[in-house]
Every structure is written in C-alpha cells, then in structure tokens.
C-alpha cells in the first residue's frame, strides 16, 4: 500500500503499477468534476484521459502546498472550462438573467413536468439550469471533498466570492424547486 508521497514518487520514476493505482485513486474525482461541467459522456472520458496525462506530466512540479486532490481538481476544472471555451459553450450570464429567465418563469416545459415527480432528477435538472460559475461551486462544495478555501484555489475565485456563489446558487435552486412544487399542486 502506497502513501500519497510514495505514490507520487513511484509515478515520477515511471512505475506502471503506480500510474494505474494513481488513476484508480483519483478517477472518481476527475470524472465527477468534469461531468458536472461537460454533459457529453464521450467527451468526459476523453478529457479525463487528457487530464491524467497532464497531471502525470506536471507531477514533478507538485509542491504539496495544497492537497493532491485539490491540485488534481484544479487541473480538471481548468481543463474542462477551457474545453467548453474552445467550443464556445461556456456561458457566464448574470444572476439577474437567470432569475428573469428561469426562477420567475412559473410555467414548466413538458419535460420538467414529467420529471418533477422524481425529486432527485428534479434537483439535478435545477442544478443544470444554474449559471456556469454558480453550478460549478455548488457541485464542488456538495461533493464533500473540498472546503471553501480549496474551491477558491480550484476555481481561482476569491473565497468570499465562492461562498457568495454557493449561498446564492442554493437560494436560486430553492426558489426553482418551490416554483416547480407549487406548479405541481395547481
């Protein structure tokens, strides 16, 4: 069994078993972060592979100033956002646009009506409607892996902004859920 330092050293030395062990240890984290930003499963898998290759390439530069999982999360987040930017699918519209278009909109589309019975699906659909930055920090926080400070390092946003986005994001989600549930009762 490797410790984190031993695992890093073995990977740097080129040990194949250590590479495999490293991927196994962090694949869930990488897939989780990337899949919350990119929706296409095939793209997620390709990007996750590229992220691990980048992680291995940069591992000798890892200074252990942050947790290894934070550093990997940071690389995963950056790569996924860059991927979206390259494909011009990254929208960071304002909270006001969001509230105007989604939360204040009382009517639900047929798809939303059909899924509203399943609470889990309903919450996921609501999360998917959040503006990008809000969605990223909310899902990173509820991964139960990162603190506010670590999310701040990963997303390169000030800690205060991260907290504000998380609270405002959750408030938006609550209002969205409230609108759906009220609509259900009508």
């Amino acid at each position: 069994m490797y410790t984190e330092v031993e695992l890093i050293q073995s990977v740097i030395k080129g040990d194949i078993y250590a590479h495999r062990r490293f991927v196994k240890q962090y694949e869930r984290l990488v897939f989780y972060v990337v899949s919350k930003i990119i929706n296409n499963d095939e793209d997620v898998q390709d990007l996750a592979q590229d992220i691990f290759i980048k992680v291995f390439k940069n591992l000798p530069k890892f200074k252990a100033e942050s947790k290894l999982s934070t550093w990997i999360g940071q690389i995963s987040y950056r790569e996924a956002v860059n991927y979206l930017k390259k494909r011009k699918r990254y929208s960071d519209y304002s909270i006001d646009d969001y509230t105007a278009n989604v939360i204040k909109e009382p009517s639900l589309n047929p798809e939303e009506k059909s899924i509203s019975n399943d609470r889990g699906t309903m919450v996921r659909a609501a999360v998917a409607k959040l503006p990008e930055r809000y969605r990223h920090v909310v899902v990173l926080y509820h991964l139960d892996e990162y603190s506010y400070q670590e999310i701040s390092e990963i997303t390169e946003m000030p800690e205060g902004t991260v907290k504000s986005y998380i609270f405002r994001g959750r408030k938006m989600l609550k209002e969205y859920l409230s609108a759906i549930l009220q609509n259900e009762q009508l």
């Binding site: 080129g14 194949i16 590479h19 694949e27 592979q49 691990f52 899902v139 989600l173 609550k174 409230s178």
Partner: protein, 129 residues
C-alpha cells in the same frame, strides 16, 4: 446525509438568507439531501488501463525519437568525418571518393531524414505504440 451535517448546512444558509419559514427549511432539506446523494459517476472498467497505455505510448515514442535522432546524428557525423579523412588522401581515387561523398551530402542528409520519419511513422501508425 448525516443529521449533524444537514443542520450545519441549514444554519449556514439561514445566516445568508435571513430567517427561514418552515417551507424554506423543507425545500433546503430536500435540496441538500439530493445534492449529497448524487448518483455515482459511470467510469469504464478499463479506464485506468487506457490512461496507462496512453502514457506509456507517449513515453515510448519520445524515447524512440531520441534514439533515432541520436543514430541519425551519429551517421551524419561519421559521413562528415569520412569526407574530412578522405581530404588527406591525395591519390586520384581518394579525391574521387571525397568528391562523391561531398557532392551527395544533401542526398545522404535527406536519406537519413526519410529513414527517421519512416521509422517514427511505423511506430505510431503501424505498431500503434
């Protein structure tokens, strides 16, 4: 989700939102429970092997490139040394050999480069390493 963690999240959110109504509390409870109860991400069984193969292929390719570059350089240096050595040979056959080699130096250089490219393409496209 543990009750203590849920309570912490609710208190934290209440500080931000202001006082909760019972409806707010119920909605946040539903939200936090569902957010922490996300379905597991689907990771292909052979994902780690795919990554390791890709890493090893890259490492092999780079070491091959270095090896071919070394031998190509070595061959060119050897050819240049031959030309220089033949320069000391003042006989007619020595001069002829030197002229032949120096006259065909661009051809020798191109041949070496083509060999290097073919070997690399063979590794990448045919053997898939």
């Amino acid at each position: 989700m543990k009750a203590k963690k849920l309570e912490e999240l609710l208190n934290e959110q209440e500080l931000f939102d202001g006082e909760f109504t019972q409806e707010d509390k119920d909605l946040y409870q539903l939200l936090f429970t569902e957010l922490s109860d996300e379905p597991a991400v689907q990771i292909p069984m052979n994902f780690a092997d795919k990554v390791v193969n890709k890493v090893m292929a890259k490492a092999t390719l780079w070491s091959d490139v270095k090896l071919y570059a070394f031998y190509s350089g070595f061959f060119l240096v050897l050819t240049t040394l031959c030309i220089a050595f033949l320069g000391f040979d003042t006989t007619a056959s020595g001069k002829q050999a030197q002229n032949f080699l120096s006259g065909n130096l661009p051809l020798i250089f191109t041949g070496t480069l083509v060999y290097f490219v073919i070997q690399t393409l063979d590794r990448v496209l045919v053997k898939g390493r």
